[in-house]
Symmetry: D2
């Protein structure tokens, strides 16, 4: 019989932790966990303590004997771990506030995954994940890394390409939510729908068939224009152009609104920026409320409010992935993984997000076949943006970052874009050690951050 | 509830039919069949009558109400069929005898799937399968075509490329047998092994992992050199060079012996040719005995002797494929299917043989990733040979056939190869209507068939 | 000895015709022309008469006996032609005015080659060029088609891909001007510089080496930031970011400003729109003045003012191409041509703009090798935009046009983009017969053209 | 003005040296040489002395002041060289005798370039050329390496792939001879034919057009079957099958006879082996006679007998290449060079043999476009064989060598092939230091070399 499992969760102080616990509890029979180590940095210590206690309460309310450890010592947590999950956020939510507000202050989208904000999130996160991988090589060389640190696709690609670590699966809840929503839209149980996804993280398309194997994507498109489409809570709901969807005979993911309805998404973002604050600010408020709840010594289950946080079904994806690897279950999950030809329009060695069967060897990607002309072009330019962003994150090269900014479809090139990039460098200096030389040079130019709130956050 | 299933089996008079019945009977609960139509040509009428009665007896011995029809009218059989299976042999076993004996008479391998013999089998079979596909478009446009007509990969590619029919899965029992044999060799249940296959029909490699996901291919190689490897009965058992297998970190299929041990395989074939007769002659004898058994009005189960025929586990592959499509079971099966990137070293639109999950949409190929240098080169040259053979079969062009012969690694180019090709054209004239012009021209050259037996078979 | 040459020039009434004549006159010794047929449509008749007489005067001032014919009958002009050149503009300059003003009226770039304007130019031009190709198949099947009709790359691709006509070379004067300008910048004769270009029309990069073969691209970049760069007169001169050029180690073409400095290019265009009028309006004025000059019965040489028109060096490219094909000269010219692998990052069968040696077989492309990450991504997305635009032009499919608009990096997707596209369809209705169904449907929506000038031009 | 040129010729004692001198003398005006350094190993010292004196006499008979140096110190020769040419043969002709005789003694082709012999030539040569490249990095980092050491394509690929040295052009006289012969066959001056070659060294095809650009390949095929085809003296002249050439619409190179007429080529080789000795033995005799001539102190020009040696036109290719680089002449030459997409069916980073324009930056490859199915397959398998051979040469790995042997179309796999390979390892031990471990293990098996002559040559 297999030995019991040790989980290490990096970014243990995340508000998502209770959802993760719920997922593990639900699957205890097939995934017999012995201990879960939550690890965070100094800044996350208090939150980790709160959520760690809450997590222990959740387990204590079950018949299972699982011990939650909280620590700031990553090496301790990683030692002999079987699975390492990552949900950390370098610089916490304040960093995301900067990611979003600086672009908005110039009328640009801050978009925290594939936009300017997401690129800086990659710059901050990738060096940290590469350090984690080095620790894993030493401390738990047989462990699997289950990444949900965003931007999940780029982080996963960095782990494989630069970290030379293949035992990784990158996750995202967007595909899960699409499936849930569409099942409801169609009035057909999820199990009776056949899905095939292809793309990169937050930028993929899918086809749907019924259980007789008949493609019903066009029917679904029809239905979607009658009803609301299973869109994540954190994306404003501008409609896709129906004729465009019919032309591609596929369903784009929610984030495609930033590309297919750029004007409206920008307008909406700027309105929020001017009124209720950016998404990060809203999340910060939600998180504050969540932690207030978590402090309640009676609370021993995942509170409903967590769902509003936008990460619903993370547990489904993450815990199911771990259980599938552990038990070689071959569950079908959409993951970020080495392409291996699944999307023949992209190099075999890059990371894509596709339907895969998850088992003891990780992801077995379903070959999607060639994409239509438009989607092929979109995917190729997005992969170029990702590769340049990752390369800049690793090398700390300013010009490579500028090339990545310039090719990013969400960013209008020119002096404003450069100013936005420069302010982001200045604002995130602390978390960008690899860009030290570039930032030092920028600092000689006396760049003033335009957004007042961020300027204050960056004040010495 | 889904309607009950109609199966049409082309080449119904095959000795394999009882095995197919057994497979269907075993799966009746998940695949509720109503009627099975066996269809054959005039030459197979008697055998079809015998085997049809035997098939009916097999069903009558079960609690299920399934009716076996036998007919010579293909259109009748295809009308409204749900699944069409093909196990026909254009020209019957006599054609295979010619395929094998003509090459051997000049010291060449006749090899009935990828060698000179297999190429002529493709020339005979492809025009017939394309006719069947045209009938299906008219009579059962929603049906699935489950092909085991050999050469299974080339026939499947012709169906997709020239027939423009995508609802097809090509089958072969070689991968099943490898899995069975290796499970025994390793002393590990088949369910606890993880397989990944890539290649083309009768020319593929695979990797094996244990249920913890650890690649154990090298361990298996070690074990294989202690024991006998799960090789189909119809292939002489020359050992692969162990160092070669270690270099590729994969297990070749049994047919690879023709490529990795060409000298010994040829020698063995020539010995059989000179003594017991070629494989086809042996099969003819076995078949004769099988039909004697089938005539027994008491026999209502698959006789053991059928296993010696070499097709063991066909039913497992074929019936399981049909049941998986019908019930959207996502069973893992190795099939011939459109590449779609699963092997990035070959074009996305060609047919490959890979591990796939079979469901209501047919095969969902597992992306294998890039092959090592040697295997990539082998695969590319074999695919070129296949494409040229298929093109020649469709166009009837002599020079294209010559190009296919020349590039075939099992054939030494030159005047003898050309003579072998020419004799095969003459000997198979009746079944090669598309090559009529070329054969007419050859006939002006007074080509004399060297092998006495074949010469007699071809006598007017 | 080869027979004397017949040239047919479609769009004969173009103001460029005298420059073409000058180019032919200069090369008469190597390209012995007998007759030049200018052909235009009814709307261009007057201009063609003027420029035709002027062209005859130019030849009459030489020792050569060359006859200029002017006609409105294309078939007459094409009959037995040796070379066909195209410089026509479907809808004349008024169409370009619409192409530019409609987008600008909504704050979008009209950009007449790769932007919204250029896409509609493609929609208008491609069906006409495909008709010309059909005429050529019947009337001059051995002729070469030398295309300068813009967008030159897309038109050339349509000729090859949909017209199935391979004897075509697409031309553009941008590379010529880059070479001229850089030669001056470096103070090195053009002959002593070694160039390698790769990209698509109006979207390419190049490398430069000195005559010892040493790459001096980085030196040139340094020099360019001291001086003015060889930019076509019709592009506003915003500087590229130097660090970006150093990163790519290549020189972008002038049109790359629209992509690397989108903000400034848009601002400049909007300023012109609000003051002096768009480029097309300026050109219309220049053309008016040119034709006044051409009317002068004494004028028998190309007037200097033609250079301001922006097409300088067209003759160098066009006449040199024709002379090189005629005389198998293997001259090095940058042309739009079937890729054939020259840019391995794009499919072998699409059209690219690369350095080529031009001889009797047309272009022999110089293989450029793989592009760096950023430029590869840009090129792939631009090729997707081109292919979608061409497909829409051929099929008249509205949704394909929308997909092309959406992927175009110069267009921000959303309702405004759709409005711009719709207005362009309405405004160009007369020249878009293939889009009839789509435009008829749009007309039911009572779309009102915002730009006053265009609205008046479209009034019945 | 450019400084005068220093040439270093490695393998200076080669009988080809006088031809090289003739080539340089003919081009002195455009390639002003100051000094030529011949360098050889101890075993070639005497021959180098003879040929060095002869070379000096050749120059002394001209008005040019060029000094020939002979040395055994490679570093001295390389120091500040402008061009390095390689014509060395590791192990001298005796090694080639072994390469040929060992395979023939088992009824296999020894074929000294792409067959078993050629693979061992690669094993011996590649480590030496990589050492030379290391010396060049230190002593003449701006020099160009002009390689004619065979197998020229594999050696060139090793230089680029493993030596990381891009300033290299690989040469072969086969394409030159094809052009000469076909010009004669057609009765058309070479200058009036347009050629396009694609393939790898000793394995390429070409198309021909007349000066009007019309493809005349099919006409040429017709003519070739009336006359003798421009085949190098060292290849037995078996006819290609005409229908095969018509199918491919290309002309194969002479060495393709080994692939398209394997039977006859083998038969011919075995006859020579049994009677006059292999090609190497014949060459040894010719060389002996040549050196007798070279000793004549009156001889100051290339003797006619050198042409029989098989290397005719080497000078044309080599000296013309050097002059073209030096003078940036853009001469069209067929060379081994990094693909860069010229053959899109092979990876962009591997070495191919294609038509190129040679200038100061080396080769500018002409993009050939996709090959037909058969030729594509052949090329891919040959490139796999080359890559495996090169990898084995660099790593000294026995199993990789076995994989290369197995995939080589000229070698029938099996025990005899393995015996041939093993004997070659034993026979060449002295020149295969990287295979030391493998050879040491083989030596424990007491392998006895079958061919008597070779056995004697290997006796201690």
């Amino acid at each position: 019989m297999k030995k019991k499992v040790k989980i290490a969760t990096i970014g243990g102080g995340s508000s998502y932790t209770p959802e993760l616990m719920e997922g593990f509890i639900k699957r205890y029979d097939e995934l017999p966990i012995k201990e879960i180590w939550l690890v965070d940095v100094e800044e996350g210590k208090d939150k980790q303590e709160i959520v760690g206690k809450m997590a222990q309460r959740m387990w204590d309310a079950t018949p299972y004997d699982v011990k939650i450890h909280t620590t700031l010592d990553r090496k301790l947590a990683l030692k002999d771990a079987d699975f390492v999950t990552t949900q950390f956020r370098v610089g916490q939510l304040n960093a995301r506030i900067k990611d979003e507000r600086i672009p908005f202050s110039y009328g640009f989208l801050g978009q925290e995954t594939n936009g300017a904000g997401g690129m800086f999130k990659a710059f901050r996160t990738i060096p940290v994940i590469l350090d984690i991988v080095e620790d894993m090589k030493a401390l738990c060389p047989k462990a699997w890394l289950i990444n949900f640190a965003n931007p999940s696709g780029m982080v996963t690609e960095a782990i494989i390409r630069y970290g030379k670590w293949d035992k990784v699966v990158g996750l995202c809840n967007v595909p899960v939510m699409a499936k849930m929503g569409e099942s409801e839209t169609l009035g057909v149980p999820k199990e009776d729908l056949i899905y095939k996804f292809a793309g990169v993280n937050h930028f993929h398309w899918h086809k749907v068939a019924n259980k007789d194997g008949e493609d019903i994507t066009l029917d679904l498109i029809d239905k979607l224009y009658e009803e609301n489409s299973g869109l994540p809570k954190n994306i404003f709901d501008a409609d896709f152009y129906k004729e465009q969807l019919i032309q591609m005979k596929m369903i784009p993911c929610g984030y495609h609104r930033y590309y297919y309805r750029a004007e409206e998404m920008l307008k909406h973002g700027l309105e929020e920026y001017a009124t209720v604050g950016t998404r990060a600010q809203q999340v910060k408020q939600i998180e504050h409320e969540l932690f207030e709840l978590y402090k309640d010594p009676e609370l021993d289950y995942k509170p409903k409010q967590l769902e509003e946080r936008g990460g619903a079904y993370y547990s489904d994806a993450a815990c199911e992935t771990i259980a599938s690897i552990y038990g070689n279950k071959n569950t079908e999950i959409v993951v970020s993984t080495k392409n291996d030809g699944a999307i023949p329009d992209l190099p075999a060695d890059c990371v894509v997000e596709v339907t895969a069967y998850i088992g003891a060897q990780g992801a077995r990607n379903v070959a999607f076949g060639e994409l239509p002309t438009a989607e092929k072009g979109w995917l190729q330019v997005m992969k170029a943006m990702e590769l340049l962003t990752i390369e800049a994150a690793v090398t700390g090269d300013y010009a490579t970052a500028l090339q990545a900014f310039t090719i990013n479809p969400l960013i209008q090139s020119g002096d404003t874009a450069k100013q936005v990039m420069n302010e982001l460098f200045i604002a995130h200096e602390r978390y960008l050690p690899r860009f030290k030389a570039a930032i030092d040079e920028l600092k000689t130019e006396n760049i003033v951050i335009k957004d007042e709130l961020v300027r204050e956050m960056c004040a010495p």
